[in-house]
Symmetry: C3
Subunit: 134 residues, 3 copies
């Protein structure tokens, strides 16, 4: 068994954005040379999240983001004295880590599934820390 770890960089261009990182993660799995195991993706930020959902229709992650933006209102009342308070809440409702299987040297995803970096306080320079074990 071995472990492969890398930091990936991305740049968001809007306040709220759903960045499809499926290919980026798939390339990392190939580079790792690991055949069977788990690819653990971590967001080292507090106003962004990582999810797996449909990427065939890009409206799906946008519907997810829109729902979070209406469930968690822009104007609180919030105790955190910055305008990005709701972005912190939205991020934690989706989560900071995702573990996807690695099978036959490839990322194991469902037919319609992709991986999205969910930005709630952009535009910013962002990172993903990926650890593949197997």
């Amino acid at each position: 068994m071995s472990v492969y770890q890398i930091e990936l960089n991305l740049r968001t261009v809007k306040k709220q954005e759903c960045v499809d990182v499926t290919e980026l993660i798939e390339r990392t799995v190939t580079e790792s040379g690991i055949v069977t195991g788990v690819c653990s993706i971590f967001v080292p930020h507090t106003t962004a999240a990582i999810i797996a959902n449909e990427h065939f229709d890009p409206n799906v992650p946008r519907d997810i983001a829109k729902t979070l933006c209406s469930m968690v209102p822009d104007h609180g009342p919030w105790d955190h004295p910055e305008e990005n308070a709701p972005a912190h809440v939205r991020a934690s409702l989706l989560g900071s880590s995702l573990s996807v299987p690695v099978t036959s040297g490839e990322l194991f995803l469902g037919q319609w599934q992709g991986i999205f970096f969910m930005e709630f306080d952009g535009p910013r320079s962002r990172n993903l820390k990926v650890t593949i074990t197997g």
Copy 2:
């Protein structure tokens, strides 16, 4: 250290359903022969999720599903042009992956805890990809 990976199949019979998969996953941990490690469970679908919560009273997962169904309304407006748009959103609020410890060759769960496959767009034939590392 070693890695054991398997795909489990299940069949949901209702539109919304909370399937207790605790025994199914426990059996997989036993089969793996792994004594200490992590059992990573992944849902390769975009309208279903995986959670750990109380399975002593089956009303608990149902309360969770009902809350999601009322928080995320059936009729949007949704951009995704299919009636299952809210099912995608509900699934991502719960999450696609769950990592449970393996201790003394068994799944390590709290006294009241079970693992549930949360269906939001059934009935369907579904899978779970389980990877045990340790």
Copy 3:
């Protein structure tokens, strides 16, 4: 590669509480001696959760908890015949497991990021099961 597993104990003192467990987890990573890998944190309870979010301003986790308490009302109607039904729902919206990278023998977190045990049905004696693989 090796695996290190430990159970950590904590005591919550309020009904709802955000306990900063960052240092506790960091110490565990140091004890493990593992240099590169993943630290998987699991909550073996059904009315508490684990998240990574800002710990520079402690108002951030409190805003997250407050949002959950207003999104998931205290008085249902709930099918679970105990007053802690909403605590179960709030916990599952945040999640029971979190996987954080281990890099250069340390927990890899973003600049503002900390790890919080989110109590929704305290005060109670609680545990965290931590498994470090790498």
